[in-house]
C-alpha cells in the first residue's frame, strides 16, 4: 500500500471529516494564511508594477540614453548635445521600440512668494508624450498648457508646501554649469496628483523653457527615454545600443548601474572634456526607489514566516492529538499487516489533503479579497501613498503567486506532518494497541 492507494486517501479524508470542528479551525487558519500570502504577493506585484510604470514614465524610460557634456574637466552637465543624431540611430536600430521621448534635465531651486524647494526639473515636450498623460493625473489646470514656453507642472504636496495655485508665478534659480546662477520666471499651469515619493522632488516644465534656463541650443536634451513593447528586452537593446553608438563614433561612459545624479562626482573627477553618452536601464535609474520593494519583500517574508511558524505549530499539535487518539487504530492496522511506511503515508496523506483543500480555498479567497480591495478604490493614507506610488490600494494577484502560495504552504504542511506520522508509524503494534486514551 503506497501513498497513491485510494484507500489511504479515503481513510485520511474521512478522518478529517470525522473531526469536523478541529479540521475546520485548522483549515480556516491555513486558508487564512494562504489568502494573506496571495494578497501580500498581489500587493507586492501591484506596487512593483505601479512603481515601474510611474518611475519609468516620469524618470527613466525602459532604456535610457543620456550622458554628460564637460566644457572643462570638472564641469559635467547632464546633457546630450547632438540628440537628434542619437535619436536617428535609435529609430533605425531598435525594432523593439514602442516610442521614444526626449527630456531635459535640471536641478534647481523653485521659489514662490511663501516658500522655496530644491527640485529636479524635467524638460518635457508634452505633445510627444503618450505615456505621461496616462500616469500623471491632473488635479488642477491643464496638461496641454505645458506647451507654453514658461509653463510648469508640479505635484500637490509641492504646491501645498510652496503655497501656490494654478496661474501663479514662481522663479527658478539654477546654478549653471559655468558657475553662475540663472533665473527664469515660470507660470504654474498644472498641479498633478501625488505619485508617492516620486512626486516629492520631480517637477516638469516646457523643454524649450528649460533650454533657455541653461542656455542650450535646440539640438540638446538631457536624456532619450526609450519605451519598449516588451520590457524584458531591455538587456539586449541596451547592449546593442552601446555597441552601435560606439561604432557611430560616440564616446561612452563605462557601464555603471547607478542613477545619473549619483555619477556627477565620478564624472567630474575624470580627465576628459566634451561629450560622453551613457546607456542605462530603468532599474539603474530608479534603483534608489527600489529599496522600497526590497523592504516590502523582507517585511512580507517575515510576516509569512511568523504565520507559517504559528500554523506549523498548530498542524503539529493537531497531528499529535489525531495520532494519539488513533494510536489503537494504528496498532490494529499494523497487527493486521500494514507496513510502517503505509502508516506514515496514511498520516502524511491526511496532512497533504488538509493542506491542499485549505490552501486552494485560501488561494481563491485571496484572489477575491485582492480584487475586492482594488475594486473598492480604497484611498491610502499619505504615508502609505509614499511607498505604494499610488493614491489607491492596487493589489494584482497573479497566477504564478497564487500557485506558489498554494504549493508552498501545502508543501510546508506535508513536511510538518511527517514528524508525528513517523513517530506513530514506528510504534510496536502491541504498544500501539494497548494504548489507552
Amino acid at each position: 500500500m503506497t501513498f497513491l492507494s485510494p484507500m489511504l486517501w479515503v481513510i485520511a479524508f474521512r478522518s478529517l471529516l470525522q473531526h469536523r470542528v478541529r479540521t475546520f479551525i485548522l483549515g480556516a487558519a491555513i486558508a487564512g494564511v494562504t489568502a494573506l500570502l496571495v494578497t501580500l504577493t498581489g500587493a507586492f506585484v501591484g506596487i512593483r508594477s505601479t512603481l515601474l510604470l510611474s518611475a519609468t514614465t516620469l524618470m527613466s524610460g525602459h532604456v535610457n540614453v543620456a550622458g554628460f557634456y564637460k566644457a572643462s574637466a570638472s564641469a559635467g552637465a547632464p546633457v546630450v548635445t547632438n540628440y537628434k543624431k542619437v535619436r536617428a540611430i535609435i529609430d533605425s536600430e531598435v525594432p523593439e521600440l514602442d516610442y521614444v521621448v526626449q527630456r531635459g534635465r535640471g536641478w534647481a531651486k523653485l521659489v514662490s512668494e511663501s516658500g522655496a524647494q530644491q527640485v529636479g526639473i524635467g524638460g518635457i515636450d508634452i505633445t510627444n508624450e503618450p505615456g505621461f498623460r496616462q500616469v500623471v493625473q491632473i488635479k488642477e489646470g491643464k496638461l496641454d498648457d505645458l506647451t507654453k514656453p514658461n509653463g510648469m507642472l508640479i505635484f500637490e504636496a509641492q504646491a501645498r508646501k510652496l503655497g501656490v495655485k494654478v496661474g501663479d508665478t514662481m522663479t527658478i534659480v539654477a546654478p549653471t554649469f559655468r558657475g553662475t546662477s540663472n533665473t527664469v520666471d515660470v507660470i504654474l499651469v498644472a498641479i498633478a496628483a501625488d505619485i508617492g515619493m516620486l512626486s516629492s522632488w520631480n517637477t516638469f516644465m516646457n523643454d524649450q523653457g528649460l533650454r533657455q534656463l541653461y542656455q542650450l541650443n535646440d539640438e540638446s536634451t538631457g536624456a532619450l527615454q526609450l519605451y519598449l513593447k516588451d520590457i524584458d528586452q531591455v538587456k539586449p537593446v541596451q547592449e546593442r545600443l552601446r555597441r552601435v553608438l560606439a561604432a557611430s563614433g560616440f564616446e561612452l561612459l563605462d557601464p555603471d548601474p547607478r542613477p545619473y545624479f549619483a555619477k556627477f562626482d565620478s564624472v567630474n573627477r575624470e580627465n576628459w572634456t566634451g561629450q560622453k553618452l551613457d546607456v542605462t536601464n530603468w532599474e539603474d535609474e530608479t534603483s534608489f526607489v527600489q529599496w522600497i520593494v526590497t523592504a516590502l519583500t523582507a517585511l512580507a517574508t517575515i510576516v509569512i514566516f511568523v504565520l507559517m511558524m504559528i500554523i506549523g505549530v498548530g498542524i503539529m499539535n493537531v497531528m499529535w492529538i489525531s495520532i494519539r487518539e488513533r494510536t489503537r487504530e494504528i496498532g490494529t492496522l499494523r497487527a493486521v499487516g500494514m507496513q510502517r511506511q503505509a502508516v506514515l503515508a496514511m498520516f502524511v496523506a491526511e496532512g497533504t489533503l488538509l493542506g491542499v483543500m485549505s490552501t486552494v480555498l485560501g488561494g481563491l479567497l485571496g484572489v477575491l479579497l485582492s480584487v475586492g480591495l482594488t475594486r473598492a478604490h480604497i484611498g491610502l493614507p499619505t504615508s502609505w501613498q509614499f511607498v505604494f506610488f499610488s493614491e489607491r490600494l492596487v493589489i494584482s494577484p497573479t497566477l504564478f503567486w497564487v500557485l506558489f502560495s498554494v504549493g508552498f504552504i501545502t508543501a510546508v504542511i506535508t513536511l510538518i506532518s511527517i514528524i508525528p506520522s513517523f513517530l506513530a508509524a514506528r510504534l510496536k503494534p502491541i504498544t500501539a494497541m494497548s494504548h489507552v486514551g
Partner: protein, 250 residues
C-alpha cells in the same frame, strides 16, 4: 498432523521501572494445523501475552517461537508484518475496527494490503465472507452503527479474508452477551470445520471452552496442562470456589 505453532521455553518479561514482571515463565506449546484450541486461565495468567507472541505483534524475551515453520526471532519487522498479513488473522476482544471505514472496507483492507486480487475478486471475496457471517445487508454501515455481536462478526470476516493459516482470538466473546458469544463461537467453529483454519482463542469462561478440541490450561505464566474440554469444564467447576479470590484479584 503437522505443527503450525511451536513454542519452546518461552519467557516474556516486562520491565516496569526497576521491577521486572515475568508474564510467561518458560512456556512450551505445540499447536497442530486445523486445531480449534482454547487457552484457558484466570485473568493475568498470561493468555494475551502468549497470543501476542504467536501473532508476532510482540517478541519473546527468551525462547523460540515458530509460526508456520519460521523462527520469528530471526525475522525483520517488515517480514513479521508480512507474516501477520498473509498467515495470521486477528480477532480482538474489543473488535478494533477502523471507525471511518464501512463494514465492506474494513474487511477489504487486508486484501488491499496484499494487493494480489483485482477489485472484482476482492468484492466477491468480501461479500461472500460477509454473507457467511450474516452481514450481507450491512456492507455500507459504519462500525458505530452496529451492535457488539455484529462488530465481532465483521472482525471475524476481516480475520478470515486473507485465508490465513491461523486465526488468533483473544477473549473474542468477553465483550458480548452469552447468546451472541455462542453464535460467534458457532461461526468460528463452522469456519474451522469447513476450511480447516487453525483457531487459537483465549478465554476464562468455561462455557466457551466447551467449543474447543483441546484446552491448554495456563496459570501464573506457565502451561499447567492440556486436557479435553469436558475435563477442563469439570476442573473449572471444582476449582471455582478455591480459585475465585485469585481470579478476582488479578
Amino acid at each position: 498432523m503437522s505443527a503450525i505453532v511451536t513454542i519452546q521455553d518461552v519467557v516474556k518479561e516486562y520491565s516496569l521501572g526497576a521491577t521486572v514482571v515475568q508474564a510467561l515463565r518458560g512456556v512450551n506449546l505445540t499447536v497442530d494445523k486445523g486445531e480449534f484450541i482454547s487457552i484457558a486461565g484466570p485473568s493475568g495468567s498470561g493468555k494475551t501475552t502468549l497470543l501476542n507472541l504467536i501473532g508476532c505483534v510482540d517478541t519473546a524475551t527468551r525462547g523460540v517461537v515458530e509460526v508456520a515453520g519460521q523462527n520469528t526471532a530471526k525475522m525483520s519487522e517488515r517480514e513479521l508484518t508480512n507474516l501477520r498479513l498473509n498467515t495470521i488473522g486477528f480477532i480482538f476482544q474489543s473488535f478494533n475496527l477502523v471507525s471511518v471505514l464501512t463494514v465492506f472496507q474494513n474487511v477489504e483492507f487486508p486484501l488491499l494490503l496484499q494487493n494480489k486480487l483485482s477489485a472484482k475478486d476482492r468484492k466477491e471475496r468480501v461479500e461472500g465472507l460477509l454473507e457467511q457471517v450474516g452481514l450481507k445487508t450491512h456492507l455500507k454501515h459504519r462500525p458505530n452503527e452496529l451492535s457488539g455481536g455484529q462488530r465481532q462478526r465483521v472482525a471475524i470476516a476481516r480475520a478470515l479474508v486473507t485465508d490465513p493459516l491461523i486465526v488468533l482470538a483473544d477473549e473474542p466473546t468477553a465483550n458480548l452477551d452469552s447468546e451472541t458469544g455462542q453464535a460467534i463461537l458457532d461461526l468460528m467453529k463452522s469456519l474451522n470445520q469447513k476450511k480447516g483454519t487453525t483457531f487459537i482463542f483465549s478465554t476464562h469462561d468455561h462455557r466457551v471452552m466447551r467449543y474447543a478440541n483441546a484446552v491448554v490450561r495456563i496459570a501464573d505464566g506457565k502451561v499447567t496442562g492440556r486436557e479435553s474440554p469436558q475435563d477442563a469444564v469439570a476442573h473449572e467447576m471444582e476449582g471455582l470456589d478455591t480459585r475465585s479470590t485469585e481470579v478476582r484479584a488479578s
